[in-house]
Symmetry: C2
Subunit: 211 residues, 2 copies
């Protein structure tokens, strides 16, 4: 719609999206408290006043960088969850996709949300609450898919879908932690395979997997 019509004053040196991408990556790798505004301005190639005029504050930038990153990942993952697949298969793909995200070659390890800002100085409590709310939200999305599975008869009527969603949420958080500690993609996926045996009605092999 809008033409790229050149506006009046001095043109911005840094594209907003590029800036958010750089910020997201830094926060992802070093955490909120481990990333300084000097780190951010240096990586973006700008000076402090530019950062503050573009993003408001460090905390605001963190919010925006998180929203930006989540928007990129969430479409694919919610498509997986909301697809025509059976809940069990959708869950499998969903977890595998997260394991891939935790171990991308040229990206920081782990998940930007799952294990972020758990411990924190009290001055950063509001940042912690925000990330916690994102974790809660994604678990509720999974729970909603499980509720649908109950309605559709894929899961027994008495299934405790909330606990089941929090169980897989714990797996997601554990994968992120272990990825931060260096676990490879294959190792995370083996872990998922065990977790999937907890699916109601599934019968385990001997957990020797297919070996």
């Amino acid at each position: 719609m809008e033409k790229p019509v050149r506006k009046r004053g001095r043109p911005p040196a840094l594209d907003r999206v590029v800036g958010l991408d750089i910020a997201a990556r830094l926060f992802w790798e070093r955490g909120y408290e481990g990333t300084s505004t000097a780190d951010l301005t240096k990586a973006m190639g700008i000076n402090p006043p530019t950062l503050y005029s573009m993003f408001g504050s460090k905390e605001e930038l963190y919010r925006q960088a998180l929203d930006f990153s989540i928007a990129r990942e969430n479409s694919r993952r919610s498509e997986i969850l909301q697809s025509h697949l059976r809940a069990y298969d959708a869950l499998s793909l969903y977890l595998y996709d997260i394991a891939d995200g935790d171990t991308q070659p040229d990206k920081p390890r782990g998940c930007m949300v799952s294990t972020a800002v758990l411990q924190h100085a009290e001055e950063n409590a509001s940042v912690a609450r925000m990330t916690a709310a994102l974790r809660e939200s994604s678990m509720l999305t999974v729970k909603a898919r499980f509720d649908r599975a109950v309605e559709e008869g894929e899961l027994p009527a008495q299934t405790d879908t909330d606990t089941l969603a929090r169980f897989y949420g714990a797996i997601i958080q554990g994968m992120s932690a272990q990825a931060c500690d260096g676990a490879c993609n294959v190792r995370l996926k083996r872990l998922i395979d065990v977790a999937l045996t907890a699916w109601p009605g599934k019968r385990q092999t001997s957990t020797g997997n297919s070996v």
Copy 2:
């Protein structure tokens, strides 16, 4: 052996163990990067030079506080693991004990080790490596118990005990994260009950638990 014979100079105002206890609690609640030396000296009621002469540096104090805390918890938990109980029962008690530790009334939430220093400034990489090593070590302890269970015939010979240990490790990390986010004891234990259905050979109820 040694009598509490009074030594020569000015007596210490702060007991070393009390100091470690205070430090551990602060680091537990706020994390390594979220805890300042000013926080520590204030909580201990001492001045900076006293802290540095007693503990060396912030990083050294963190190490000592972690060692101190782990020594307290580990005896009980390794007793559980090394007891005469079957591996499955020992694992259950072990996980329940950790869930209790994650949700103690007048203590910080979560575990001091499981989800600590995952993301960090690069200047704190050595602290991160140390905590990661502690996580790895505790997973290997669990794996060793599973290996014993294989030898004793409680688990099938082809069981992938490493993956199984890392799976329960992920549960432990997930519980810590969710405790930090406010999950109560009961909620964590429901999560454990789901995780235990992944034990090789176990047959799930419908994951409606006992309801």
